[in-house]
Amino acid sequence: MDKVKEYKKEKNPFRLFGYHLAAVGEGIKHFIRPKRMTLMYPEEVQALPTGYRGFIRFYKDLCTGCTMCAMICPADAMKMVTQEGKKYPRINYGRCIFCGFCVDICPVDALKETPIHDVAFTSREQFRFPPDLFNEEFQEEPPLLSKPVKRVKPIIDEDRGVIYVPDEQ
């Protein structure tokens, strides 16, 4: 049996005053030596690790048309279409929830996760990737910024929490 704890209700005004001072002191300490963990987003982009469940790449030549990916897709994003008498998956990124189930279930590894995640489309039609487009390496348009986007990766630090260092690749 674990013991039931009780906390001490502080009534001593001098100790309370001390707690006030400790709180203000902690604030001043952080004010003087800030530990920032901001990712300067549009200028710096987090380089996603391998294995990140981002956009999905399709390899048409490997596909056997087994429809397993469409069956497991929880969001009905993956659907099978018939092309030249063969079934291929097409994906609708407007529905995709990036669970990666289709990648894991594909028996011939015709689907692969890519570490691309932040993409903007201009119309709803562009969400839909027919098999041929799905088959191509996804071309991410660089954002319209004056400076090139820095790719950074997060590192867990014992003092600062998360720090972002430039990605070597």
């Binding site: 005004p13 709180a23 203000v24 902690e26 604030g27 001043i28 952080h30 004010f31 800030p34 530990k35 920032r36 963990m37 901001t38 300067m40 929490g161």
Partner: protein, 352 residues
């Protein structure tokens, strides 16, 4: 007398220069923007982030507040149905005016008889108590009393803003302000009284000229006065009147656009005018300087007080209204009484 020196004479004339230029309206508005920027920036430093940055990256985002001000100024003012439009527009103006008016009677610096650019006003602003000219917007021998009296009228206009908007959250905020004003006014007046007894005067200038900063002569009064100020101008941890998670924005809930900026600025201006008073009473004011450098030195200390009071946002949450009132009557009021006794003793033994 050439035209130029005539212009200079009127420009530097204390009643004009202090109220309008420095440390009055124009400086106060610039300071207001800088202080809100500082508040956000300081909070960001404590909170592991950057705060405003992109409006001017080189200045650390200092222009962000100007951008915000422009955005507010050109956004639509929505006047709710069923309110009196005249009073609705007038209330914030009165609020900021009365937050600002104490600056006119707070002495800013001493005018030496010769050698300063201000010496020509020596006779017009002669203070018999300190036997020197006093650089102040309007000189009265009891300026401590007058400044406190004017400052305490601020809360009336908070009630007015709430009452004209006819909003339920605003009314709750107004009731909170009414309850609080009773507590903080007592603290402010009592700690000021302690100093008045200690220095045997109601003239702020004499307190400053005695050469002993009030915080050294009476530290208890200094702390009590500061608590009264942050309570009166709704700074953290006493941001009870406009507690946003409880009563949306308190008395200012219905205000939009420029009128909202005015209501928000009023509390900062109120803190600023109290900070000027604090700098005079407790931090030694302009001493040992005189003339314009004295004014700058005194204002600098006031800005530090203001900066500290806005910095408290990043340390505290807000108290409950009953806790604030109980705390002020139960803990701080005895301290204020103690400060009066301390003032009497010190004034009798040390300060003649």
């Amino acid at each position: 007398m050439s035209i130029l020196s005539l212009i200079l004479f009127y420009l530097l004339y204390p009643s004009f220069f202090i109220t309008v230029i420095f440390p009055g309206a124009i400086f106060a508005l610039i300071l207001l923007l800088l202080m809100i920027w500082f508040e956000r920036k300081a909070a960001a430093f404590v909170q592991m982030r950057y705060g405003p940055l992109y409006a001017s990256k080189r200045l650390g985002g200092a222009l962000q507040l100007i951008a915000d001000a422009i955005k507010y100024a050109i956004s639509e003012i929505i006047i709710p149905n069923g309110v009196n439009p005249t009073l609705y527009a007038l209330a914030p103006m009165l609020l900021i005016t009365f937050a600002f008016i104490p600056i006119a009677v707070i002495p800013v610096s001493r005018i030496p008889i010769s050698g300063s650019i201000l010496s020509k006003y020596f006779l017009a602003f002669y203070d018999p108590d300190i036997k020197s000219g006093l650089y102040v917007g309007y000189f009265v021998p009891f300026n401590l009393l007058l400044a406190l009296g004017l400052a305490s009228s601020y809360s009336v206009f908070v009630l007015l803003t709430a009452w004209v908007t006819n909003n339920r959250f605003a009314l709750i905020g107004a009731v909170r302000e009414a309850f609080l004003s009773v507590s903080y006014d007592v603290l402010i007046v009592m700690s000021a009284l302690a100093l008045a007894l200690e220095y045997h005067t109601l003239d702020i200038a004499k307190i400053v000229q005695s050469g002993i900063p009030g915080f050294i002569a009476n530290p208890i009064a200094g702390v009590v006065f500061f608590i009264g100020v942050i309570m009166g101008t709704s700074r953290f941890p006493f941001e009870i009147v406009e507690a946003d998670t409880e009563v949306v924005m308190g008395p200012y809930t219905e205000y939009t656009g420029l009128l909202y900026v005015i209501t928000m600025g009023a509390s900062y201006i109120g803190t600023y005018s109290f900070a000027l008073l604090y700098s005079d009473l407790f931090l030694g004011g302009w001493a040992p300087f005189s003339g314009l450098p004295g004014a700058v030195w005194m204002t600098f200390k006031a800005v530090l007080v203001l900066a500290f009071s806005v910095f408290l946002r990043s340390v505290y949450g807000r108290y409950r209204i009953d806790q604030a009132i109980r705390g002020s009557w139960k803990y701080v009021l005895p301290a204020a009484l103690a400060s009066i006794i301390l003032g009497l003793v010190v004034g009798w033994l040390w300060i003649r």
